[in-house]
Symmetry: C2
Subunit: 404 residues, 2 copies
């Protein structure tokens, strides 16, 4: 029978009570099929440890910071094993060096290169539930290295791939919603979503699933599901991440996502050669500014106008980087108090009327669109921050997302 990997995030292992609830979920699944468990550090623990390390000069990327951080998952793996034993299951914690989980790449952002399935299979065959400490692995130099924030999702996907299992990600929400229920109370849980839609939503800040884990699961053909550990076992099926063909026939749009605190920069009158744009983006990357939407148009007066969006907190660094360049008389301006609204769906592929619908819906509500960018399965618009919630509700209603 296909084994199941259950991953519990920080809020799902935050206290003995939460650990008991997690153990009840594992026990319910264990009655049906072989299981393995992967856990994050208890909620708040990684921040506490990082604060201590930083106080001593240990930034992310420093090997000793990783050693400190990795202890959080060691603790929760042991406590989870205890909770499982209390629930009547045989269980055993497995640390990265005991499997091992091999990684490479920098401390604080390592990549998993291999998970030895041997110890996992041996325990499962012996009727013991393995409880793997997430978020970490052993690098080539024999040292601990962590995978970066959300890395435990990646550990879970890698463990599932290693033992040929499915992967349920338990968190504090019961799946992916058509939009944020705090903005649109009629929002519904999405039952099935494609990997690419999930990636777009994850990139938009929907924190239910870390994007690297989605990519990993897609590449290794692992069936992922997002479920709530705050509900009784089996109370909700959550959201299943499936190949695109499994959802495309159902509906055009899967959800409406958003991001607050955006800013827009405009650089008017760059030379047409493209050298100015190249220098600009190089300087922004150097300044660690993440550029999101980019629009380029020919200026009436000749040359090129470039507009792009960044997160508000990156704006000052972006402006400083642009000002430091010699942009041959180009004019730089910027605008804040913006937000981004995005419509995501594999059904958007190849549909020419999407932009028209977006403009029509937002225009009908009197919401000006300040910038638009599209991808294969997403169309995003920058709007005034004050009008964001109105825009989300209007698009959610226009695509009838409240209907099952």
């Amino acid at each position: 029978m296909t084994p199941l990997v259950l991953k519990f995030g920080g809020t799902s292992v935050a206290s003995p009570e939460r650990l008991r609830q997690a153990a009840a979920i594992v026990a319910a699944e264990r009655a049906r099929r072989p299981v393995a468990v992967v856990v994050s550090a208890m909620a708040g623990e990684t921040d506490r440890l990082l604060g201590l390390a930083r106080d001593l000069g240990g930034e992310i990327g420093e090997a000793e910071t990783d050693v400190a951080l990795a202890s959080g998952e060691q603790t929760s793996a042991a406590l989870t094993a205890l909770a499982l034993k209390e629930a009547g299951l045989a269980a055993r914690s497995l640390l990265a060096w005991q499997l091992p989980i091999a990684v490479e790449g920098p401390p604080g952002g390592a990549r998993i290169t291999g998970v030895d399935p041997g110890p996992l299979r041996a325990l499962i065959e012996a009727g013991v539930v393995p409880v793997v400490a997430g978020y970490q692995g052993i690098a080539e130099d024999g040292r601990l290295a962590t995978l970066g924030r959300g890395g435990t999702d990646l550990t879970a996907a890698a463990v599932a791939a290693a033992i040929g299992g499915d992967c349920d990600i338990y968190t504090d929400v019961d799946g992916v919603y058509t939009t944020d229920p705090r903005i649109a109370p009629e929002a519904r849980r999405v039952e099935r979503i494609s990997h690419d839609e999930m990636l777009e939503l994850a990139a938009m800040g929907a924190k239910v699933l870390q994007s690297r884990s989605v990519e990993y699961a897609k590449a290794r053909n692992v069936a992922l599901r997002v479920r709530s550990s705050f509900l009784e076992p089996g109370a909700s099926e959550g959201t299943t991440v499936v190949a695109a063909e499994g959802v495309a026939e159902r509906r055009v749009v899967s959800g409406v996502a958003y991001a607050r605190d955006q800013a827009r920069l405009a650089v008017m009158g760059l030379p047409e050669s493209g050298e100015g744009a190249a220098a600009l983006f190089a300087a922004l990357a150097e300044a660690d500014v993440h550029v999101d939407m980019i629009v380029q148009a020919r200026a009436r007066a000749g040359g090129v106008n470039l507009e792009f969006s960044v997160e508000r907190r990156d704006l000052d660094r972006a402006l400083a980087a642009a000002d430091a360049l010699d942009l041959a008389g180009a004019e730089i301006s910027h605008e804040t108090d913006l937000a981004k609204v995005s419509v995501v769906g594999v059904g958007l592929r190849g549909r020419a009327d999407i932009a028209r619908t977006l403009y029509a819906v937002l225009g009908g509500e009197g919401i000006a669109v300040r910038m638009v960018a599209t991808s294969e399965i997403k169309i995003s618009a920058l709007v005034e921050a004050d009008l964001l919630e109105k825009a989300v509700r209007a698009l959610h209603a226009a695509y009838k997302l409240e209907e099952a």
Copy 2:
């Protein structure tokens, strides 16, 4: 040059400020000789982790409890390495599985069977300060196992033995005192003390050094020193633990120790065969009662009278165990509100007048002696709890311990 192992206890690594102070001490020693560091968990961390484990049924002795507890030293080893780097030293944390430190025996009370000096020597030769996570090792089954409370002292002694080094134990007191300065303000720091005296004092609850580490250091010929991490580097030499011949010539008595909350049990009229006493002590051991002083005398009416002392908290269990036995009509009585005062010194060996001096001093103060027991280098008396401090001061003065 003989390397030095510096061990820092929980209060010495309790915060970034304390860690910086520890790093300054390491840097000062490092300027003179090669060093390695061994650390405990941050003060309070082991109790916090044990509380979480216990809440889930993970008592001491349970393998997963050990995995949770061991994470505390992993964190502090990483933070100590960061503090050393901040102080300008090259440093690297070493976890039990990275050395490895091999142990055997039960979780929560494992024994060190081997420390591989290779990685320690390689780091030291490369100019890097190794920072070893204390209190833990890897058992035969490849799992983490902890050494029991105070186990980091043992790790430090074992690391020192492995690399042929001396061992400084840094804690929140600057050595062993002739008695508790809170009782006798004239108490002085002892500069040199023998292993056996240290063992007697450790057994009496002087928490400066864990007794297994003293035994280990004695057996492996490691020079131990107790020093304060709360003083500036080099401000005090602490107390050096040396072979008995190194202290015997100096003075008869090294210190006056005490223990509060003692109780006395008397079992009168046991059969002379010894079977009753054997059954009694077996029952007490079964009930996990630690019997301290034992006095046996022939009863006037025939048979044997047995008196012994236990800690007050063990009294109810001791009485229940004794009552459950069929002791052939022996009478059981008990007394509480007692305390133990002990005079410790290698100079006591073979001196016939010790008991006489003890009785004379205490008698001169009007302090009744309720029970006396002697060992090679210690004589202990049970006195009324109210009179304990008076007894400590009188004995401290009688042996002129305030004089250097």
